[in-house]
């Protein structure tokens, strides 16, 4: 990010958004809001103090008098702390929300205004455009936060917080908003003008997920909560308050600070998003492919690594340290089952990221027929790479479970059963991803979105069929579930390798379906081209 202030894209945003009159107006509004907020906090605390004074006069007990003395002594710091918390809360929400939504409309907005092609034909590299947009699009909110920063700093210090804590909160919010900015930018590259509404829903979902990740403090992966800006607003400001409400993230079982965890997670996720953006920013819309095949395998490995690095095995209520850690993994088997389930999602996402555009797939097919390409080529079908990702995920599982062997003793049966589970999940995911690849070859508009909706309908129908079959007998319900979905392998009643026959029959049925989808894809790829431009 060297000399970002001379980046033409950043300068453009600065000029457009921060003209002197507007900048002065924003600064004045922010300062007035700070004053009003300060007065409101003072008024609130004054009210409490007056109540305490009335209580002390009315009841005339030592307890009331002590309370009154304490309030009078800490009156100023309490007001400052309250003021600080309000300031941080408002800035946190404004910064993260504004950054996400302004970035989520950046590229799609340029496409809409038809200025994007002109920017793509300049000498700016994808990296320069990315830096300019990430720092430039939300420049107004950055400026507003900058205006409020001195007041916030003073309020925090006067409220009794250390300089380090105040800076930590700022760094935390900056890192989260940058991550959300990258996420928003990625969403905006995926959208054309007619799908901008979908993009805004996506941005809302991303924001909701980021905020809601706060609840993961109590899960088996408590570190994931470090993505939430609420951690900065609540936990960092509260500091280490002893008691049952204090949660700390762990990295390989060692407690780390929320700030460090936030920097690790937001930094690494932002890096993956930046990689996808740099690869694709200057590409034409139909040529967008988030990751290369090897990058997708790397991403799957990284996400698997995170599972085991952030894992917090079940240790509730550590009375010695007076802290509570989340944790829902009583044994290695539960970790393995959880990892398989998460890998279903990871493999599906990797499949989505590596779908091949129709044009490239047709060229690959022709080259393959001529012996000039291979099944594992970057422009080929995604299934071989899903297989590789699944193998990598299994290797990571072996490593992860062995690493946690001291806390969660591992037996070989767990790994063997996990292999069967992962195989079944990978087969189902491969079927679904190949179905999406087939959708791309049809004439559907927005084929991936529609394909995902079709898959959603399929799984909803499978749930209804299972419920209907269960009415006649539980065994029939199990068979339907096993034939149509991979859910059955997560049945807690399965011990060791004792999978029911329906599991293996379901596996064979799905392999047959995969073969059929592959044949349908080949058929589509062999259709002759019509002559004449379509652009």
């Amino acid at each position: 990010m060297p000399r970002f202030w001379t980046n033409p894209e950043f300068v453009r945003h600065r000029r457009a958004e921060l003209r002197p009159v507007r900048a002065v107006t924003v600064a004045v509004v922010v300062l007035v809001m700070c004053v009003l907020l300060g007065l409101a906090c003072w008024s609130y605390e004054q009210n409490l103090l007056e109540n305490a004074q009335r209580g002390a006069e009315t009841f005339a007990t030592q307890a009331w008098q002590d309370r009154l003395d304490r309030m009078q002594r800490d009156f100023a710091p309490i007001i400052w702390l309250l003021f600080y918390r309000w300031l941080v809360g408002l800035q946190g929400v404004a910064l993260t929300f504004w950054t996400l939504f302004s970035c989520a409309q950046s590229v799609s907005g340029e496409r809409d205004r038809k200025t994007w092609d002109f920017q793509r034909t300049t000498r700016l590299t994808s990296t320069e455009i990315l830096i300019g947009k990430i720092l430039g699009e939300p420049i107004l909110v950055y400026f507003a936060v900058l205006c409020a920063a001195p007041v916030t700093l003073i309020a925090g210090l006067a409220g009794g917080l250390s300089f380090g804590t105040v800076i930590s909160v700022f760094v935390f919010l900056a890192s989260t908003s940058l991550f959300l900015g990258f996420g928003g930018m990625w969403l905006s590259t995926l959208l054309e003008s007619r799908t901008r509404g979908v993009g805004l829903i996506g941005a809302l979902a991303l924001y909701g997920f980021t905020l809601a990740s706060y609840g993961l403090r109590e899960s088996g992966l408590p570190g994931l909560a470090a993505m939430s800006p609420l951690i900065a607003i609540i936990d960092l400001v509260l500091g280490k308050v002893p008691g049952p409400f204090h949660f700390t993230p762990v990295l390989f079982g060692h407690e780390v600070s929320w700030l460090l965890m936030n920097l690790l997670l937001c930094g690494s996720f932002s890096a993956w998003l930046a990689l996808m953006l740099i690869r694709n920013l200057k590409r034409d819309y139909p040529d967008i492919r988030p990751l290369s095949r090897w990058q997708a395998v790397g991403c799957a490995a990284f996400l698997n690594f995170l599972i085991y690095a952030l894992l917090s095995p079940g240790r509730f209520g550590d009375t010695l340290s007076g802290t509570v850690r989340g944790g829902q993994f009583p044994d290695a088997k539960s970790v393995a089952v959880f990892a398989v389930a998460i890998n279903g999602l990871i493999l599906f996402l990797m499949g989505l990221a590596t779908l091949t555009p129709q044009e490239r797939l047709k060229v690959w097919r022709r080259k393959l027929s001529a012996g000039e390409s291979a099944v594992f080529a970057d422009d080929g079908l995604p299934w071989p790479w899903l297989g590789i990702s699944a193998v990598v995920a299994y290797a990571m599982m072996i490593w992860g479970l062995l690493a946690w062997d001291h806390a969660l003793p591992l037996d070989s049966g767990t790994l063997q059963a996990a292999a069967i589970r992962l195989l079944l999940v990978a087969v189902f995911v491969t079927r679904d991803v190949l179905f999406l690849q087939w959708c791309i070859l049809t004439r559907l508009r927005q084929p991936v979105v529609k394909g995902v909706l079709f898959l959603g309908l399929y799984y909803a129908a499978a749930a209804v069929l299972t419920a209907l079959a269960t009415i006649s007998s539980e065994e029939s319900g199990r068979w339907v579930l096993a034939l149509l979905t991979p859910v059955q392998v997560f049945d807690p009643r399965i011990h060791g390798m004792a999978f029911p026959p329906a599991t293996y029959v379901g596996l064979l049925v799905q392999m047959g379906i995969i073969g059929t989808v592959l044949a349908a894809i080949t058929n589509r790829l062999q259709r002759p081209l019509r002559i004449g431009a379509a652009a």
């Binding site: 033409p8 453009r12 000029r15 002109f118 034909t121 200057k282 002559i531 004449g532 431009a533 379509a534």
Partner: protein, 309 residues
């Protein structure tokens, strides 16, 4: 110089451009003609790096546009049929943005902005907000953007389609000025009169293929097996003229009325002089005699329907 080598583009089930080979030399203005859907826009978008070709390469000044896009872009100026601009900037800020985006030397930028603003007659609007400009002014600003970095290759996709007649003339003289400075220009249009007397060579595209290309003289020669000759004369020599022309085996389609007419001549240009000589010898008082040059429009109509005479 622009080179398109075996360029091919497929969209879903459609072959938009098929094995296109083209070389446009320095200082040449090449007009790409064809009906809507012929593949002109796709070709230009591939040539300027906006679209990745399915196969083949596009070179600008010898640099592969797909492989070294940032290096190639310093030589390319791209103008399309829409003139989208950043409405929230001032005129000079807009040009300053693109000058920096094209990585021009910092010291040159202020003078270049002044120069380009003068070229497109926007001096009085230099400090005005773009959102306050008229449509025509925005179009001129778009042209200024395309030439701010002194491109040696101009790729113009139907650039005049939204321009008023005055702006068209200004664009034309601007492009001729660039050509005189050594720029190579590829311009697509289906308004054929726009290219008349302006292009040094043309290419006719249909269904993704280049039907014919070359200098206008070459294309005309290739499209014509006989010349259309127009003549006028004074006095009452209709019968004599008809008799003389009918007696020449190289003459056909004689269509004469009182004092004027046309015929087709299948010989070489110098042989045409002998026809004139025979008419003069026969006391026909010829007042004008010459080959009727075909317009680009006529050429296109012949070639696009494969009606080669």
């Amino acid at each position: 110089m622009i080179e398109l080598l075996g360029l091919r583009k497929e969209f879903e089930n459609v072959l938009a451009v098929d094995d296109l080979n083209l070389k446009i030399s320095k200082g040449e203005i090449f007009g790409l003609i064809g009906p809507n859907g012929a593949g002109k826009t796709t070709t230009i978008r591939m040539a300027c790096g906006l679209l990745a070709p399915t196969q083949g390469r596009a070179l600008a000044n010898g640099i592969d546009v797909a492989r070294e896009p940032e290096r190639a872009q310093q030589y390319i100026g791209y103008l399309s049929d829409f003139f989208a601009v950043y409405e929230d900037l001032k005129v000079w800020e807009y040009l300053d943005y693109f000058a920096h985006a094209y990585k021009m030397p910092e010291a040159e930028i202020p003078a270049r902005i002044t120069e380009v603003i003068a070229q497109v007659n926007l001096e009085v609007k230099r400090d005005a907000m773009i959102r306050g400009l008229s449509r025509g002014m925005k179009q001129r600003l778009g042209i200024a953007r395309a030439i701010i970095h002194r491109p040696q290759v101009m790729l113009l996709d139907e650039p005049a389609s939204g321009l008023d007649p005055k702006a068209r003339l200004e664009l034309r003289s601007l492009l001729l000025g660039l050509r005189d400075q050594g720029a190579t220009i590829l311009i697509s249009s289906h308004i054929l009169t726009e290219l008349e007397g302006f292009c040094t060579s043309i290419g006719i595209m249909e269904k993704g293929r280049m039907v014919r290309s070359g200098s206008i003289a070459e294309v005309t020669a290739a499209a014509t097996t006989s010349r259309l000759v127009r003549l006028t004369w004074a006095g009452d020599s209709l019968a004599v003229a008809q008799e003389k022309l009918a007696g020449d085996p190289r003459v056909s389609e004689v269509n004469l009325t009182t004092g004027a007419g046309t015929f087709r001549f299948s010989g070489a240009e110098e042989d045409l002089a002998t026809v004139l000589g025979s008419l003069v010898e026969a006391k026909v008082q010829v007042t004008s005699f010459g080959e009727a040059k075909q317009t680009v429009e006529e050429l296109y109509m012949k070639l696009s329907t494969h009606e080669v005479m």
